[in-house]
Subunit: 188 residues, 2 copies
């Protein structure tokens, strides 16, 4: 069955397409314009974006917001990860962490599913790990060259999409969604 | 005459009250809840916030958004200055600038005036200067301990409100607004 992913980020789309394909869900990308609210709460951002997209989308869709939360930086860059990355890049995070003994961090994803006439439902995923001491790898996007998930020695940017999906926050949220979605669909 | 300043920031309120008082405008603080949109454009944020506040406010008001834009950091922290300050503080900006020859930066303020039945009007102000090598002073708020405007050797946090108002982005926007507002009011 078909599903729309509302995103302007080709990296996110490829990861979701690979994972949901395994569940028999055929993902298509749509670039519906949505104004994200300023909020420190990732889940709130995803839900509000989904509610806005719901007004414009004619069919069921998913939309996702995610961020890197570095523990010794009070969760920075967090909800504004994408903006911060555009401005100061991976290099900026490394400079902020220079000399820091605690390099622990986590990625969070908040994935909202929207269905016209039926509302919005939220799924989340989280992966814990460490920030590398230098950028490594060329795959993925954003802070992927910096993030080493627990259970691996590679950064996300050193992994194939399939390998990243074994660890990632986004994959966890997508799996939770896919299980729920397939059950719901099978009932009908 | 009376005017409402929609802000939850007591520092901003005191600066505006001092300055507008000289124009015979009596400022009162109101904490109307407004969801700021995520946008890289300060003026867009101010205008959209004013449009939202306009739906809730029963009388004319001003609302203001401002940010510190560091040139060698591509304008970071910019529109998200307040969030970034909560997370990594002045210390974070200093770490990002460690060893940087170019410490130039500017503060921008976008001030929107809203009047029920008449819409929104935007005023802006900008002050250029440098980022100090360490935090200095206790006055003000946010990045004030770091910012030395051209024409002074003191940071904003080493100045009285009256002195800061001789230089600041906020004061410039407020002055532009006050001149316009008084003319408009006198005509009626």
């Amino acid at each position: 069955m078909k599903l729309i992913f509302v995103t302007g980020n080709p990296g996110k789309f490829l990861e979701a397409k690979e994972l949901l394909g395994k569940y028999g869900i055929r993902l298509e990308q749509a670039d519906i314009e949505v104004t994200e609210p300023q909020s420190d709460d990732l889940e709130e951002v995803a839900v509000k974006c989904a509610e806005e997209a719901l007004k414009k989308a004619g069919e069921r869709f998913i939309i996702e917001d995610s961020g890197l939360f570095v523990n010794s930086l009070n969760g920075f860059p967090g909800v504004y990860s994408s903006y911060v990355h555009r401005k100061i890049g991976c290099e900026g995070i490394l400079r902020l962490l220079a000399g820091s003994a605690d390099r622990s961090a986590y990625f969070m994803a908040a994935l909202a599913y929207g269905e016209p006439g039926s509302g919005v439902r939220l799924f989340t995923g989280r992966v814990d790990g460490n920030v590398a001491t230098e950028p490594r790898g060329k795959s993925g996007f954003g802070y992927d060259p910096l993030f080493i998930p627990f259970g691996s020695h590679s950064t996300f940017a050193e992994m194939s999409i399939e390998e990243k999906n074994k660890f990632s926050h986004r994959a966890k949220a997508l799996k939770a969604f896919a299980s729920w979605f397939l059950k719901k669909y099978e009932r009908k």
